[in-house]
Symmetry: C2
Subunit: 325 residues, 2 copies
DNA sequence: TATGGTATGTCAACCGTTTAACATGTTTGA
DNA sequence: TCAAACATGTTAAACGGTTGACATACCATA
């Protein structure tokens, strides 16, 4: 592939001058600039980003460590992150831990090797993990991490509370709470706390069903949910920790001949594509994923510019009323 | 961050020797090897992949250009590709075109700049596009591309035929065919052809509904499907070009009080996570995405080794019987 | 004792680009 | 007419690692 040297030769200029054109440094005449552009065109030249990165001592790549790609929530998150990164001229290096032990640590090392401009972690493989002297900003997303430079969250507690409010307002008096538990303390765990707290305050009965830590996307909650609903017939409301759980709750309800939202009201969490593809569509708690993703990139930029970054940035959530309440 | 030189100094060795340890070249005593390892450990050393790539004149990064991330099918595909890449020691650079014009071309240039080891394209932004002198193998996935080194496909025609077969076997005599059309000629278009051909051969009536090219994931087919079903009441079967379409068809059927699979049988395409989360679950055509993803990486490896690669590799599809037929 | 394998060091070139220092012109304007 | 701005060139070092040529040992074995 053509190099700067080739372009210089083709344009009858020195490498220094061509580099000036590329980087907009120093004085350049319009004529020379055009000459360089046509030479680049003719040679089908693309600057070698690898050499550039080495010379500049930084890349324009951001690392992403996710627990899953296929799960609708993470698919949405990755999509938003890719877009936000692209808009800031970053490229995205994607890693997925799939709940496999040690993957996360390896990926962090891979990011170090590749000298990424920043790293966004949303995975939860390792219980506690301190990453020091990374050499680039570390942003944790919906996860507490001692060594992160910044943490982007949404108000999970409030989301749980809002869900409870909605179900109670629609007349539910005996509500099931279906949520996955994490091995580590994750912010998402507080959804349940917020929910239970709100119910307690209004003296609404709650019955909990906790799922073991989700290891892979293949984990199905359906059998547990079905059993739970059979065992607790009087339930008239269901708070689900994610839209996936809500979708399976709907399946169980249909299976048992319980009509939604007449006899049972269901509320999900995440506002993913899935919440629009079930029947009825899922009333859910919306997380401003797009804005949160943009904030992640923003925080990396800021940190790299030596600007101040807050330890935690917490976003509001909102209720999206669809068909299940 | 620590460099090779630092490690050499710490271990009391020359840079050359340390490099030998890292790359398993020449003679190295066990003692020296351990000395290098402990020094690396102590300095928290990670080889600079950027410098390595420049020196070796190749990266271990594979570029991915997708049309969408959030769409369940592409989420699944990206997931499989990430895994397959990781298993071969590749990292994945993810780009998403979102149906925006020219994005694809820009992404290809970005991949050239980053000197990727190979590029997998599944996008369809530009009608015709020839990429020449890329400097790395180009694999197209479910897409025809003149300039690609290899094309990985599944037997869409056969998938359409199988779907028809299933619906007819289950008693359908008047079948709707709901599918998106691409502006460019895409392999997926042949699903419909296979389906229609099989119906014609068995003299089964078909009624088509074509959706305009899908530009973003936000495109909802629901209104069109609902209208279509109202207008064509006698329909007892539905072939859908994707699971998303099938999910929306189910919504429309429930809305109209048409019970599935009793009065209407529906068959989807892709076998994504979504097909397990609707009620009833979607009978669908399974694509061996995992194997196809592995093949993509394999073809890049082969091409880079100077091995022969077939122009097209076509995979079998299969029917997954769930609840809608 | 000579040979060849083992183990390490030194040195230099190279990958493609950036950047600074410095030199050498040509224009332009006050 | 002289200084400042403009335009380009030359040269060299730097980024961090790879690789090959070559030198220098030590040690075992035939």
């Amino acid at each position: 592939m053509a190099t700067l040297k080739d372009v210089a030769k083709a344009a009858g200029l020195s490498v220094g001058t061509v580099s000036r054109v590329l980087n907009n440094r120093g004085y350049i005449s319009e004529e020379t600039r055009q000459g360089v552009y046509t030479a680049m065109e003719r040679l089908n030249y693309q600057p070698n980003e690898v050499a550039r990165s080495l010379s500049r001592q930084k890349t324009n790549t951001i690392g992403l460590i996710m627990p899953s790609i296929e799960h609708p929530y993470f698919a949405k998150l990755i999509s938003c992150l890719e877009r936000a990164a692209y808009e800031r001229e970053y490229k995205v290096l994607l890693f997925c831990a799939y709940g496999i032990d040690d993957q996360e640590k390896k990926f962090v090392e891979a990011c170090r090797s590749n000298r990424v401009a920043g790293l966004i972690i949303c995975s939860d493989t390792v219980r506690t993990q301190t990453f020091n002297n990374l050499g680039f900003p570390l942003v944790s997303y919906e996860r507490y991490l001692d060594s992160s430079d910044a943490c982007v969250l949404c108000d999970n507690h409030e989301g749980g509370r809002m869900a409870a409010q909605e179900l109670i307002a629609k007349g539910c008096r005996r509500i099931g709470c279906l949520s996955g538990t994490s091995r580590v303390g994750m912010p998402a765990d507080t959804r349940k706390e917020g929910f239970l707290e709100a119910c307690r305050q209004q003296e609404i009965e709650t019955i909990e069903l906790d799922f073991p830590p989700e290891r892979t996307i293949d984990t199905r909650y359906y059998p547990d949910i079905l059993e739970f609903m059979k065992k607790n017939e009087g339930i008239d409301g269901l708070f689900c920790g994610s839209d996936v759980i809500a979708a399976e709750a709907i399946q169980a309800a249909v299976e048992l001949g319980v009509s939604i939202p007449d006899r049972l009201k269901v509320i999900g969490y995440d506002d993913t594509l899935l919440s629009e593809l079930t029947m009825p569509k899922i009333t859910t708690i919306h997380q401003p994923v797009k804005e949160m993703a943009e904030m992640c990139i923003d925080l990396i930029d800021k940190k790299n510019n030596g600007d101040f970054v807050p330890a935690r940035t917490i976003f509001h959530v909102s209720l999206v009323n669809r068909g299940t309440t």
